[in-house]
Subunit: 262 residues, 2 copies
Amino acid sequence: MSYFKVSIIGSGNVAGHLANALENAGHFVNEVYSRTRSHGEALVSKLYDTSYKEDLDFSESTSDIFIIAVSDSAIKEVAEAIIVPENAILVHTSGTRSLEDLNQYYTENTGVFYPLQTFSKIKKVDFGEIPICVEAKNKAALKGLKTLGKSLSKKVVEIDSQQRMILHIAAVFACNFTNHMFAISEEILRSKNMDFELLKPLIVETINKGLEIGPGAAQTGPAKRKDLETLDKHYDFLTNNDETLAEIYRIISQRILDKYEI
Amino acid sequence: MSYFKVSIIGSGNVAGHLANALENAGHFVNEVYSRTRSHGEALVSKLYDTSYKEDLDFSESTSDIFIIAVSDSAIKEVAEAIIVPENAILVHTSGTRSLEDLNQYYTENTGVFYPLQTFSKIKKVDFGEIPICVEAKNKAALKGLKTLGKSLSKKVVEIDSQQRMILHIAAVFACNFTNHMFAISEEILRSKNMDFELLKPLIVETINKGLEIGPGAAQTGPAKRKDLETLDKHYDFLTNNDETLAEIYRIISQRILDKYEI
């Protein structure tokens, strides 16, 4: 097992959870930089022996790996400004940004270290169960990132920038859109003074089933059973209340109708 | 606490789970009728002291409540054929069919007794957590159904046929469409040789968050944060691969963009 000295750029949720996980795995979190000093110092205070870094000139740093864990839109700016020691590994943690965002002069050892999970301030996460997607510009960086990943998680997968985009699209459907289906459901119920709570046991059971036996086999509902009478009734009701919802209902139902031939 | 004598018409998943729950709550499952004798007898054999009924003439039955737990499309046919004692309560268990489907000569005490859950053969369910939606044509039947419901579940709600339709539409969005979002996600990943397993920890966390803090507050993703660059990139990729998916992506993203003004 190799242990790394790591510097973290950023002090948000990803930075915080990652810093904790790194320390728990025996690595040394050397420095934390944050645009907002108070946030950076707050994170530093929760770590074992970490110093707050005033600027992005890390030329004198002894760290092996520099992790840029800032918002997607700030990655390029940080990558252009940061100075790291030659041979150090420089990564970002974004699911949406390309490896190319890290093009810069100081190291060729660039990569992506993307923990496939959503992080919130309050909730603890078990990093061991989080898939970590790694990508690197060269073999040396890839080897380092795989070693780092395996020290944190049981599941480390090599994924290139194109695959990471596709993974992100898949996640938009499975997570963001799923959540918006809940939001629509809640809106519909609220408009008739019914409580979304009522649906929760059914939602939990449906989702567990979909994840257990696979969504193809778990599909149910009027579109799946070609119940055109119910589909028409629902569509008419929605058309009279919210045309966008009616169109969303129509297009998803149509896709289910097409996918599951009798 | 009143205990009822109950006859069940049907031998599928709902009939089976309901029969068990009724016995566990102290009621007496008097008779089971099923169009398919072997299925009916299989259910009877799992119950305490229940007889198999050959036909739908229950005029000599001593049951208080008759529960039609058959497929939606068969309810009307059963309701037209069944003979029940005067004053008995006759209900169906469907989330989609109206109370009017039970119009018939023998009793005015008709109703709907709809457990809001999906049932499968193998899996045990905790009826106590399942909301039961009741509706009835008159006060006598309503009182009986509420008493029966409360003996099985902590949550019994009175919901009329119009509300039940809206509840069903909400469930289509929150359950059936959510499951189809998983199916789409899996398809996208499979087309690029990636494994849906990879997304599961993120899905579970996202859904738990949505149900805990509410889907409005839990919304994330490129549309939520108005990341038009990512939305365009995803849309372009989908357009080149599957125009229906591109359109689903566009219309749901647009609704999220519209809902969450910055």
